[in-house]
């Protein structure tokens, strides 16, 4: 879930607060990434596969060994 993208969170960022950030940042900057992610989900759905969010480049190794003990 979260930790893939955001590492271990200790603050609850709040869904509403996350959405506002996108608005605040201006839709244009973020819409491309957003589309890419939803497109992944749609493709996975039609192929009957489990959706795997794209792995952030710099953090692949870290996300694997940072599972909670």
């Amino acid at each position: 879930m979260h930790h893939i993208l955001f590492n271990v969170r200790y603050l609850d960022p709040g869904s509403g607060s996350l959405l506002i950030q996108l608005i605040a940042a201006g839709f244009l900057g973020s819409i491309a990434i957003l589309m890419k992610m939803f497109w992944g989900r749609i493709k996975a759905f039609f192929k009957g596969e489990k959706y795997v969010p794209p792995q952030p480049e710099a953090s692949e190794e870290e996300t694997i060994d940072e599972q909670p003990k």
Binding site: M1, H2, I4, L5, F6, N7, V8, R9, Y10, L11, P13, G14, S15, G16, S17, L18, L19, I20, Q21, L22, I23, A24, A25, G26, G29, S30, A32, I33, L34, M37, F38, R41, P53, P56, E57, A58, S59, E62, E66
Partner: protein
């Protein structure tokens, strides 16, 4: 595990580490779970950048044994903060400068591949007149597409109180005393004037729309917000927007109770100067390391301490006086003085979980010396506090005290008594000496030339 180390109640929330005290010294344990982030902070150049700017406390790594060995990666010793203060004790510009610093730190972090993971006002303190981030463990590794987890906290801790102070009333910053995690946005949404719902001030978005969206999503299960993403440029864009919104919030105090105090008193400028000299001599006699000036107004006499290099807290009930003091300190880059808004008749209480997250005002003492100049009539006459009770409080706060007695014949006291019945027969110089004599030894007594007032240098028994 050491038996003499004590975890502080203020830093339990973040699993990255915690603060502990051992033999009177403060340390921060960095946990193994935060190893990568800590190493990145140190190796990415972010630590160097922020500490050189004076935006983050510096620290040194120590060989001190950890307080919780099983979790520990490192133990660091952070730069000392002379006095921990809280956002509900800051004047408008102090809170605003702390907010702007938080945003600047967030931007710098992004430039070095990290992200500020929270935006707590309690992570900011003032050293030598300037705000500084004191939580070394505030940074996470930035991952492409990440949003800012600290955004909501920023709005609650900084933006809401600043907007309310600026647009409604300065006293609303005191809501932070009640809401330890910042002012709830739905409350700010209700209290702010209607005009802020429109327009481009940023408040329409960051407070009003934000509150509404929170409401909409409050009882819905998390649906795909983990797939929300924004680019780094977009995030910087948003941070710049917040900087603009905060910068545009202004508060210009109009003549209040105390704002023009020194021009309205019966002190002539000569008399003020002589009073300062007597106070200075008394300070020189004691040579305190730390000093609290209670009822300091704009800090005129607090500077008798700070200009000698003595760390001085200059507290006053009046947010205007404290604001003026802070702006003066900022303008001339003064050191060793910290102005704070404290209502001595109801000083900051201990708040938070188990009443241990934030200390009460007096828990943050005692200090070597307290001063209460031209304060006693406000405490004892306006607020009906018996002289003995005032003496006991001062004696518990400081080993030494400088107290100015203002007799009933003084025009300021006459003014206070003009509108009420005089129920204070003990309020005389003899009554003062008897009451304070219970707790203090009178070391020195000096008439303030050109007035009817007396300065006492007192040593706690």
């Amino acid at each position: 595990m050491s038996n003499r180390s004590e975890k502080l109640g203020s830093s339990f929330r973040d699993p990255s580490g915690f603060i502990f005290k051992r033999d009177g010294k403060l340390f921060r344990q960095v946990n193994l779970s935060y190893q990568k982030e800590y190493d990145r902070l140190m190796s990415s150049g972010l630590y160097k950048l922020l500490t050189e700017k004076g935006w983050l406390v510096s620290h040194e790594e120590t060989k001190e044994p950890p307080a919780d060995t099983a979790l520990a990666y490192k133990v660091i010793r952070p730069q000392t903060v002379p006095f921990i203060s809280y956002p509900y004790e800051w004047s408008f510009s102090q809170l605003k400068d702390a907010a702007l610093l938080t945003l600047e730190v967030a931007k710098q972090a992004l430039s070095k591949g990290m992200i500020l993971k929270d935006a707590s006002a309690y992570n900011i303190q003032f050293i030598d007149g300037k705000p500084i981030l004191i939580d070394t463990l505030s940074f996470d590794t930035y991952r492409e597409g990440a949003l800012w987890d600290g955004y909501r906290q920023f709005c609650q801790h900084f933006l809401a109180p600043l907007a309310l102070a600026s647009m409604v009333d300065i006293r609303l910053t005191q809501l932070l005393r009640v809401y330890i995690d910042g002012i709830p946005l739905d409350l700010a949404d209700k209290l702010l004037p209607g005009k802020t719902k429109f327009g481009l001030s940023g408040l329409a978005l960051h407070i009003h729309m934000h509150a509404n969206l929170q409401k909409q999503y409050a009882d819905k299960p998390e649906t795909g917000s983990s797939t929300l993403a924004m680019g780094k440029a977009a995030q910087i864009n948003m941070l710049n927007g917040l900087t603009k919104t905060v910068s545009d919030l202004k508060w210009e105090p109009k003549g209040t109770e105390w704002g023009e105090y020194y021009s309205a008193t019966n002190y002539s400028s000569d008399s003020l100067k002589l009073k300062g000299e007597i106070v200075g001599k008394m300070i020189d006699r004691v040579k305190p390391v730390s000093l609290w000036d209670l009822g300091a107004n704009n800090g005129l006499f607090s500077r008798e301490g700070s200009k000698r290099g003595i760390f001085t807290v200059a507290s006053d009930i009046d947010p205007v006086a404290v604001e003026k003091n802070y702006l003066a300190i900022k303008q001339t880059a003064e050191k060793s003085i910290l102005p704070l808004v404290i209502d001595l008749t109801n000083p900051s209480a201990a708040i938070g979980w188990a009443n241990q997250e934030r200390d009460s005002f007096f828990q943050r003492g005692p200090v070597d010396m307290v001063m209460a100049l031209a304060l006693i009539h406000h405490i004892s006459i306006s607020n009906n506090v018996p002289l003995g009770s005032f003496a006991a409080t001062l004696a518990s706060a400081g080993k030494w005290a400088i107290v100015e007695f203002v007799p009933k014949s003084d025009s300021q006291v006459k003014r206070l008594l003009a509108t009420r019945k005089d129920i204070f027969p003990q309020y005389t110089e003899e009554g003062f000496e008897a009451a304070f004599g219970e707790y203090f030894k009178i070391e020195q007594k000096e008439k303030v030339p050109g007035s009817e007032r007396t300065l006492y240098l007192l040593k706690s028994k």
